[in-house]
């Protein structure tokens, strides 16, 4: 029941942002469409409705965005240097990485962040054991712990605070 | 008034199409129903629908005739040939007369031809009531065409459902 109220409020806010006017016709239609979205997606939207309560999660999220932007910038420069270099120093391969995140949204965030960063790409996810299979364009270590250290650790520390 | 006459004509033709035993005559009566529908669309001011109805009707008549004949059509050589020839020439004459009057209405060579569109473009805000001209045309000036589009989509969905249904008796458990 709580999930339905959360989805209703979110959908109504989204509708207000889209239509950007407060005359009664738009508000009434916004209520209708929010109820419809509620019915269609209520049981699959959230795993636990407690994620919205703590305000510290939002601040960690902002920090994550800044951290991710900086890492992405560095990786872009690194990728450009590798491409322009006359020798093309790449060493591609697939490594297995262990992570401690348990929730689905957290795993998706980690996998998508690694894919967005040039140089690494997530190929498969194993949810029960917490393994990710990552295609790395310059493999520096082949066993699981060192690879985890190099690729994942920076993001995972922040993500563990956002999604428990 | 014309609409009622056309509707009575369509009802009579469809009753004939159901009751006649010969298949070819029944198909021709069905095409008369289609022709009546085309005239009704013209009276109701939906020329797009009339054109589409005429073309689809001709196609449908050809397909149905091909599906129902098993041997060659018998040519009528003796009997009422005088009546047939005279009535055919009469209908050709009527068609050419109306065609002459219709072709005189077309604009001269070299003039701009979008007569109807200019009316819609000029009156869209005052008579249509909407700012978006495309929606004003499809849903205010030509609402019958939107109804026919919706019917076509509906028929397509029903056709898909009908083709892929399971026929036969329900199994006892």
């Amino acid at each position: 029941m709580k999930v339905k109220i959360i989805i209703f409020i979110l959908a109504f806010l989204l509708w207000l942002l889209l239509s950007w006017s407060v005359d009664p016709v738009h508000l009434f239609l916004g209520v209708l469409i929010a109820v419809l979205v509620c019915f269609v997606t209520a049981d699959i939207f959230l795993e636990s409705p407690q994620v919205f309560k703590k305000p510290s999660r939002y601040l960690w999220f902002v920090y994550y965005i800044i951290l991710f932007a900086w890492e992405c910038f560095k990786a872009n420069l690194d990728g450009a240097w590798r491409v322009i270099h006359p020798d093309l120093p790449i060493n591609p391969g697939i490594v297995k990485v262990k992570t401690q995140l348990k929730s689905e949204v957290g795993l998706t965030f980690l996998a998508n962040s690694l894919t967005l960063k040039p140089g690494t790409m997530t190929v498969d996810i194993d949810k029960e054991n917490g393994f990710l299979y990552i295609h790395w364009s310059d493999v520096k270590a082949q066993d699981v712990e060192k690879a985890t250290e190099l690729i994942v650790r920076k993001f995972e520390r922040v993500l563990m605070r956002i999604f428990p | 008034m014309e609409l009622h006459l056309i509707l009575i004509f369509m009802i009579c033709a469809s009753i004939m199409a159901v009751e006649i035993k010969d298949l070819i005559s029944s198909v021709i009566a069905l095409s008369a129903v289609g022709l009546g529908l085309c005239l009704a669309f013209l009276v109701l001011k939906a020329p797009n629908l009339a054109i589409t109805q005429l073309v689809v009707e001709i196609l449908l008549v050809i397909v149905l005739i091909r599906a129902t004949i098993k041997k060659d059509l018998p040519l009528v050589r003796d009997g009422r040939w005088l009546f047939n020839t005279v009535s055919t020439l009469l209908f050709i004459g009527i068609f050419l007369t109306f065609g002459y009057f219709a072709l005189k209405e077309l604009p001269n060579f070299g003039q701009p031809t979008m007569l109807v569109s200019r009316e819609y473009l000029a009156n869209s805000l005052t008579q249509g009531g909407l700012a978006n001209i495309v929606t004003a045309i499809t849903l205010n000036f030509r609402r019958f065409d939107a109804l026919a589009e919706a019917s076509v989509l509906f028929t397509a969905v029903i056709a898909v459902l009908a083709i892929t249904r399971k026929t036969g008796k329900a199994h006892d458990k």
């Binding site: 997606t41 | 909407l130 499809t138 939107a146 509906f154």
Partner: protein
């Protein structure tokens, strides 16, 4: 790789869960802005059907059929068609153009959206039935 046998991988399922409501809201927005922006009933209905098809593609047909069965979608499409007929023939539209266009747009969007979803479900179910028949 312990994936579920039905549906796609974990990342696709999570992103679908979070964004299917957004697609539905945007489709409805296209329908409602038909009087000042390009759009209208047909385009908005197609986008609304796309959100439901997105659900079926990501989660598998059985999980979605439990929620929105085929009979319900056919009923929804028929209700939309009847609503459009009633609105188009009533005197509401000859008096006030704006509400007439709005209501008929919503009716058209319902009809088109539910109809496309029904066609997709029918083809998916038909392939499943004929595959089962071929195996036997």
């Amino acid at each position: 790789m312990t994936n579920n046998p039905s549906g796609m991988s974990l990342i696709v399922k999570t992103i679908t869960r979070l964004t299917v409501g957004l697609i539905l809201i945007y489709g409805f927005y296209i329908v409602l802005q038909s009087h000042i922006a390009p759009g209208g009933g047909f385009a908005g209905g197609v986008v609304m059907a796309l959100s439901l098809i997105h659900l079926v593609l990501a989660f598998g047909r059985d999980a979605v059929l439990k929620k929105i069965s085929q009979i319900n979608s056919v009923c929804l499409m028929s209700c939309g068609a009847i609503a459009f007929l009633v609105i188009a023939l009533s005197r509401l539209v000859t008096k006030n153009h704006f509400t007439g266009v709005l209501l008929s747009d919503i009716a058209i969007a319902t009809m088109v959206g539910a109809g496309l979803f029904v066609v997709f479900l029918t083809l998916v179910l038909f392939i499943k039935e004929s595959a089962k028949g071929n195996k036997q």
